[in-house]
Symmetry: C2
Subunit: 432 residues, 2 copies
């Protein structure tokens, strides 16, 4: 890839993020936003709450020659929140109290403090004052929570502009929009002109090595893959191929896409950015079908995933979590003798669970999942990772027994993906 206008780096601060007590939601989100703007993003650096480490990260990115640095976190009221002062120093700017900003934050805090009757108002005032300190010449981004953000231009020409954002994603995201709209931001990245295109292909039911071979086949047929940016990865049981290219290279991508379609037509389920979750939601909604689940090893995760999106109440009626065998019988009406004869983890019981879920909730589509998530409970005949699935709709059904790799969490998560793919296939007409 070449020809992109500006380059940026992301610095995520917080010892809790560095050490993994909190997962970083901001680095990936900011990366996507930068890419959308045609800004090349090569490094995200996670640092703890130590000023020297933050300084080193900023200086590394400056040395790489990026035009823009985006930081997240470290703007809170506590003493370990030091981003604003370190950035001011890095940018060669004084760091001063903005009394009007202090007053605006105080107004916000008044509302919040009403929720906590025993609050120490001294503490609140102290935090308020700290959060109203502003690097000289910075554009102030009005707080969404209580922390303002900043777009800090460097005192010295040639150094990067720094966008300073708070850590909570609910604050960072709207404030990012405000940052992009500032003159300071536009000046730093020089107009955001380069257009690019990208496509994501999702496949289900093949190993990643098959894609590696497809890349070699494409090269052998003369496709100039070096002109494209191709990323492949395996996640949640799906293989993802994302390609990015500049418009003049469209014929190169078309040639590449033709090779992929030729080799993987039957496993590509998405070429338009939709996830399997999107597709199942659309299939159910568009046909006014309702769905219900009966889950053993996944313990409610499939129902949780189906109800992730707003509006899912239009098609999700509910579900049964039938962890104990007695629950399978009492709630989903699975015959105790069926469990006795085939075992709780069996295609027979999965089928009965799917039927039982649909019946108990009066749903059009039923899903049953039963398996050995591990780490214990495996046998020679049914080792850890054995999961049986069944989906039914009217008289049609699809029932499968699979052997899934990975940890307990992997098996449970992967099972929800498999179940969604089986619902999709059933609704598209495939059945046993």
């Amino acid at each position: 890839m070449s020809g992109l206008n500006a380059r940026a780096g992301i610095v995520v601060t917080g010892t809790e993020v560095l050490t993994g007590r909190v997962a970083d939601a901001n680095g990936p989100w900011l990366s996507e936003r930068l890419t959308e703007l045609g800004i090349d993003h090569a490094h995200t650096i996670v640092v703890g709450d130590r000023p020297d480490d933050l300084r080193a990260a900023l200086e590394f990115l400056a040395r790489l020659g990026v035009e823009l640095i985006v930081t997240s976190g470290g703007l809170g009221p506590t003493e370990d929140d030091l981003t604003a002062s370190v950035v001011a120093e890095f940018s060669g700017r004084d760091f001063e109290l903005d009394e009007r900003l202090e007053a605006r934050i105080a107004t916000i805090l008044e509302k919040l403090t009403a929720r906590w009757p025993d609050l120490d108002l001294e503490a609140v005032a102290h935090g308020n004052r700290k959060q109203a300190m502003v690097p000289d010449q910075a554009a102030v981004l009005e707080p969404v929570g209580t922390a303002p953000g900043f777009v800090v231009t460097p005192a010295e020409v040639g150094k990067p502009t720094v966008v300073v954002l708070p850590g909570p994603p609910g604050e960072l995201r709207p404030m990012w929009k405000a940052a992009v709209a500032t003159d300071e931001f536009r000046a730093a990245v020089g107009g955001l002109a380069t257009e690019y295109r990208s496509q994501q292909l999702l496949m289900f039911g093949i190993p990643e090595s098959e894609i590696a071979e497809t890349l070699r086949v494409a090269r052998a047929r003369g496709v100039d893959l070096d002109a494209l940016e191709v990323t492949t990865c395996l996640r949640r049981g799906e293989v993802e191929v994302v390609t990015r290219w500049e418009p003049p290279l469209q014929p190169v991508y078309d040639a590449f896409l033709a090779v992929i379609r030729e080799r993987h037509a039957d496993t590509i389920f998405s070429d338009d950015g939709t996830s399997i979750d999107d597709q199942v939601a659309a299939l159910l909604s568009s046909r006014a079908l309702t769905i219900a689940t009966a889950e053993s090893c996944t313990g409610g995760l499939l129902a949780g995933r189906l109800t992730e999106r707003a509006g899912s109440s239009a098609y999700v009626l509910g579900g049964l979590v039938v962890y104990a065998n007695e629950a399978k019988t009492a709630l989903a009406g699975v015959d105790a003798s069926l469990i006795e004869a085939h075992g709780a983890v069996s295609t027979e019981v999965a089928f009965a669970l799917a039927r039982g879920a649909a019946a108990a909730l009066g749903a059009d589509v039923g899903v049953g999942i039963t398996g050995v998530a591990g780490p214990g409970g495996g046998t020679e005949e049914k080792p850890v990772g054995t999961v049986c699935f069944s989906v039914c709709h009217g008289d049609a059904s699809l029932t499968r027994r699979l052997q899934l790799p990975g940890s307990r969490a992997d098996v449970r998560d992967r099972s929800t993906t498999v179940a969604l793919h089986m619902v999709r296939r059933l609704l598209l007409g495939e059945h046993d």
Copy 2:
């Protein structure tokens, strides 16, 4: 903090991680392992699959003077997996095919390929050869999947040693243990001698600003907080304070702890590293109690969380996902007139759900959750974020209506945390 023996940096590779299509599980996990060994870890850098970006990250860490770099990812069979060759070059080492390693990988692949009948064996052989390329003088870490790892010592004195690990956590974790056991690793970090202590305190039911004030109070009383490393953060509705100190500073920590306990005694629920999930599991197990859930807005996430741990079948009987009002009535026996009178989101319905879950599954403890997760569905009286909870055990019960902040996903996740805290409090004797 001072006196730690060695310093390390982590480099996580993969465009899919940089752009957030896959969440990084390895950076945080490796950070914890380094910290346990007394190795100071200040930076985790996420880079895409571009050799120049990986090289820049390695060189940045080398310039900081770290003794050790740990990389994850980029060891797969596809062309964008380039970590091993870039590290060989960075370390000034030749990069050569190890034929005996190639044969060992081939043996592993034979077993795997049996699972994919239509596999392209040419592709497999090509990937095999790529994964058997080894930097000269490196200690080879035997593959857990198909990719070997390496501990690469630098050709030049003063540069860091690099531990090269594969991306899948199920492979990386056992191979990390093998890496730590090598002479090359020990030599790089010089014996791992410094002992340190740490404690995590978890609180529920206070805002983070209260902790900021506690830090100021501690300083005002003469506690030398600069001698400790204190991190505070808010996550999933809980406030976490983690402190790390060297053994001679125990009295400083004791004084700090006394201030915290004095100010926050009623909200500290954990000082021994246990999570609320651990505590609920232990309370149920130790009393041989069973639990069942009836969830509306959380859609199965509480049941999913309760069944996260192996062995949870000892106390989780199952649950009801009662998304539709008809399901609340049909499955949990909630009177339709009760829903009519108070609305589906009401403490009355939450109470009926808790009782209904316990009755339907024959469980000792019942939990009911009903709320407005948003973004739609809010009213003036019951805005988005309004969630009603009830837990019951025999005749005792606890019922609450709360207003939770954040997005749909935040409200749903936070609700599972609140429910677990209410179960804990009920089992410890608190009730309405």
